[in-house]
């Protein structure tokens, strides 16, 4: 009976939905499939005669490979192929910005989990057992695991500037790459290089390594084509950047490497880099059969990049009245073994590393560094999440030093429209930092800490573990505000492509939107429909499957798709509309300027005429394909960091209320409140969903989420040991959305997804600090940080 389903042709189904224009709570076109269990995620794909591919990974964070013997694996019955770097026909290294990462290990492995060899077999367990029989002879080296040591920079002592011991490694072992261990050093220099101030606050901060922890594992299906090429169905964030890298590795032109987006089970940055993409294609081309790869959870922890851990030293100077005079910051991002997005992370951390404040004198050094730790790259809010913990902690410390209310201090120094950022950029759209904070303050607080006999344990830190009935529990309230650049910065040619078609189907005008923009759960497919309905005045809008048959949409990251692909869809719709109105002009007898499309009709308000769109179109198919760009940004000056680096900023603020069991160091977050300016909420329900989800990931980093790395080895690669918030960890959330239009953006919208991920964690940290009176300079906060044990 075993005739399973799910061939790629059925995945992902074309999605047609009705109802919902810009500004409505439109429902997802893929929603019915998702709740029926019928949506084809990348791990659900299945074909007759397909093989399963698995990866053999290095157990060592740093080693030289003397030899690889694949013979024992090939001898396992059911095994069809075993491949190593020798079998990579094209470029043997790849990377998003810098090609420095081997498709399969060359002579050196630089992190634990680096792919070394591949196996394809008829059953996944056969492939796994065969991979375990590959014999790799490693010459194990000492790993470089400290970012500052990797640069030969002095290790800080807590709160002291004086160099302690300069770690001198021999140049041979110290340099993990031929170009050295420095990926990028960004300098921001503004104002007086030697400023002085009445009040000075110095702090050192550390942020642990966070994981995206998307639920859908890295997976996909590669199908060899009759033309010697390959079709890859895969969960990803940017089909075309994948295609570019896959083509290079396979030595094939783009027309022979065709990608289609399979259902994506979350991304959060973790799918920006390649994972199984090239591997599955290599196995498929080698065996001539479809090959499916799907990581299990442990492999997933080794199979994608993480959020950069950061160590940061900040010095804030202010007048006695609380005006910021200067900020000096030194920031180290540990990029791990390969570059990935580290240059962009450094860009964000450096240019926005002092927060949404006006500061006349700024001196920032931001470093991205190679080590033998797991590679780090994109994760929601990158570069800003880490620095926000530091700059918002500093603002609280400065307020305490000044004897000033922490929100007052923030409002006093807040960025606003017309302000100049540390990189010399004038903020040319609304920046309601003060209003975000004031609105939070005005929200009612939750009830006091419950006490007495009728305490519900479920309301207590520790919950039903019955660790307290309220004794030793202290309440704290904390605030934080943050900002983040939207879309790609620093002169990147950031564009998207949209193809929009309007035609009559079954007597009704139907629009089809075709982009390559990855839907990863955020709801871009809904937004694409809403825009087409709004611009073309039709109800039925089909979202074409996402693939490389249309031009690049750019990455689903940096909160950019609604802005950039939304802008492209809007522009393509406008082009289609212009042609349709031209067709209608002679029929209606009115100039185009008097006509509009609404309710499936061509409407002339002056004439009171409404002509069915289907009649105007007849058999004509109107199709337009457009590339759309936001206004250009520019590279920053290498010595000063000055320049128009960012096209738009997103602003959000959080208030966190926590109860801390100070005896056991257990934290319960009681409530989170968020205010965010979204410019224009294209889909308010989805916007709130983004704010909820971003808040949860920020809370997770503040109190529980960390990949523990010891001597370059990951200690907790599982959901048993790497904890993400459950429904018991998440409190009720209040959300207020502001809509101050950005005049430069389509519909005035702002990118939404990342900002709430940035401000939530620092607010939680501030609340815990207020509850305990402890300085708390590291996240995630652990029980032992609170109890001192």
């Amino acid at each position: 009976m075993s005739t399973p389903t799910r061939t790629p042709s059925g995945a992902p189904a074309q999605m047609t939905g009705a109802g919902g224009r810009v500004g409505d709570d439109a429902q997802r076109p893929d929603g019915v499939l998702k709740v029926r269990g019928e949506f084809a995620y990348s791990s659900d794909l299945w074909m007759d005669d397909m093989l399963w591919g698995v990866t053999l990974r290095s157990p060592h964070p740093h080693a030289r490979i003397r030899s690889i013997d694949v013979g024992p694996a090939l001898a396992v019955p059911g095994v069809q192929a075993v491949l190593t770097s020798d079998d990579v026909p094209g470029e043997k290294v790849y990377g998003l910005e810098l090609a420095d990462q081997p498709v399969l290990a060359l002579d050196v492995v630089r992190y634990q989990g680096e792919p070394v060899a591949l196996v394809a077999a008829d059953h996944p367990d056969t492939a796994r057992r065969a991979a375990a029989r590959i014999v790799v002879d490693y010459d194990v080296r000492e790993p470089v695991t400290d970012a500052r040591a990797a640069l030969g920079h002095p290790t800080w002592n807590q709160l002291h500037d004086a160099p302690a011991e300069v770690t001198e490694l021999s140049r041979e072992s110290a340099n993990l790459h031929p170009h050295g261990n420095l990926v990028r050093h960004l300098k921001v220099r503004k104002g007086d290089p030697e400023p002085t101030a009445d009040v000075v606050v110095v702090g050192e901060y550390e942020v642990g390594m966070q994981d995206q922890a998307f639920l859908g594992p890295e997976s996909g299906l590669a199908v060899p084509g009759e033309d010697g090429g390959v079709d890859l169905y895969v969960a990803t964030q940017w089909l075309h950047v994948d295609q570019r890298q896959i083509c290079a590795a396979l030595g094939l032109p783009p027309e022979r490497v065709r990608l289609t987006l399979a259902g994506v089970g979350g991304a959060f940055g973790g799918r920006e880099d390649l994972s199984m993409h090239v591997h599955a294609c290599l196995l498929a081309l080698h065996t001539g059969k479809p090959v499916k790869m799907s990581y299990n959870r442990e492999e997933s922890f080794f199979g994608h990049v993480h959020r950069h851990p950061a160590t940061m030293r900040y010095e804030h100077g202010a007048t006695r009245d609380g005006d910021l005079v200067y900020v000096k910051a030194t920031i180290y991002f540990d990029g791990g073994a390969y570059a990935s997005s580290t240059p962009a992370v450094v860009g964000n951390g450096g240019t926005m590393g002092i927060g949404p404040y006006v500061v006349p004198n700024v001196h920032v050094d931001c470093y991205g560094v190679y080590t033998n730790n797991p590679p780090c790259g994109a994760m929601r809010g990158f570069g800003s999440v880490q620095t926000a913990f530091a700059y918002e902690s500093q603002m609280d410390a400065l307020a305490a030093e000044l004897g000033m209310d922490a929100v007052e201090l923030r409002c006093r120094n807040a960025l606003e429209q017309g302000s100049e950022t540390p990189t010399g950029q004038v903020v040319d759209s609304p920046a309601p930092v003060v209003e975000l904070l004031r609105r939070l303050e005005a929200m009612p607080l939750p009830p006091e800490v419950p006490t007495g006999d009728d305490v519900d344990l479920r309301d207590m830190p520790g919950g039903v573990s019955n660790t307290t009935h309220g004794e030793g529990v202290r309440r704290g309230v904390g605030y934080a505000v943050a900002y983040k650049n939207v879309a790609f910065s620093e002169g990147f040619d950031d564009h998207s492509t949209a193809r929009v078609r309007l035609e009559v189907v079954g007597g009704e005008a139907v629009a089809t939107v075709h982009t390559a923009a990855a839907e990863v759960g955020q709801g871009l497919v809904t937004v694409e429909q809403q825009i087409a309905r709004t611009e073309l005045g039709v109800d039925r809008v089909t979202v074409h499957p996402k693939d490389t048959a249309v031009g690049s949409a750019g990455s689903t990251s940096a909160s950019r798709q609604t802005y950039v692909t939304g802008g492209a869809v809007k522009a393509a719709c406008e082009a289609v509309r212009a042609r349709v109105l031209e067709m209608a002009r002679s029929v209606v007898g009115r100039p185009v300027a008097d006509l509009r499309l609404d309710g499936g009709k061509v409407v002339s308000d002056l004439e009171g005429v409404a002509l069915p769109l289907a009649d105007v179109l007849g058999d004509t198919v109107v199709e337009e394909t457009l590339e759309w760009r936001h206004r250009p940004t520019e590279a920053v000056d290498p010595e000063t960091g000055q320049g128009f680096a960012h096209v738009q900023y997103a602003f959000s603020a959080h208030r966190a209320v926590v109860d801390v069991d100070t005896e056991l160091g257990l934290v319960k977050v009681v409530e989170m409140a968020c205010t965010q300016d979204v410019g224009r909420a294209i889909n308010p329900q989805a916007v709130v969903g983004q704010i909820h989800g971003g808040t949860a990931q920020g809370l997770g980093l503040a109190v529980m989420e960390e990949i523990l790395v010891r001597d370059g080895r990951v200690q907790n690669p599982s959901f048993t040991d790497y904890l993400i918030p459950t429904v018991l960890d998440m409190p009720p959330m209040r959300v207020e959305i502001l809509e101050y239009a950005d005049p430069h953006a389509p519909y005035g919208l702002r990118g939404v997804g990342e900002a709430p991920n940035i401000s939530s964690g620092p607010a939680v940290l501030a609340a815990i600090r207020q509850a305990t009176g402890l300085p708390l300079t590291r996240v995630p906060v652990r029980p032992e940080h609170l109890t001192g044990t």
Binding site: V35, S43, G216, R297, G521, V688, I724, P725
Partner: protein
């Protein structure tokens, strides 16, 4: 080995099952029912929650052989039998309307867990309080939503199921 069991009310029989395979693997890879998701294979995330003889379990932790002769209910079985393409179980409908579905990978497991909770509380003639909903869903991880809209969806479904006819779809 050969495995025989009932899935969503239909007798199923599959051959050549390797003894090391889980119920989840057999459902997904041998029976053509990939609705139950594989996200951790450790019983931590709840994405593979199915009914086994009417009780919710993580299908990844059930050896295929343990399902021999038993009744399995999956997310695919929640959809009312013979339903058209738009017809949904009240829990499915509520998740859609409330915005509780983003990437949707956790959704199948959450739907089964919610159906279990609401079927139990309905049998007791009541609607679950928030604290009870949170406890019931604590074994289902979601990375996208922060759970707020999932709670909205469960409350909405509870209201509707209290008002509407009994559904005994999956169990």
């Amino acid at each position: 080995m050969r495995l025989s069991c009932t899935v969503n009310g239909t007798p199923q029989q599959v051959d050549d099952v390797w003894e090391g395979e889980s119920l989840l693997y057999v459902l997904r890879e041998r029976m053509g029912l990939p609705g139950s998701k594989n996200a951790c294979e450790q019983g931590e995330c709840g994405s593979c929650t199915v009914y086994l003889d009417g009780l919710p379990v993580c299908a990844c932790l059930v050896a295929a052989g343990q399902a021999q002769g038993r009744e399995v209910g999956t997310v695919e079985g929640l959809t009312p039998a013979g339903a058209g393409s738009g017809e949904l179980h009240p829990v499915q409908q509520a998740f859609l309307e409330a915005g509780a579905v983003q990437c949707g990978f956790c959704t199948p497991g959450l739907l089964v867990a919610t159906d279990d909770l609401l079927t139990r509380s309905r049998a007791e003639g009541r609607k679950p309080a928030d604290a009870e909903i949170r406890e019931a869903l604590a074994g289902n991880l979601c990375r996208c939503t922060g759970y707020e809209k999932i709670l909205d969806a469960v409350r909405l479904a509870a209201d509707r199921m209290a008002a509407g006819p009994t559904t005994e779809a999956a169990r």
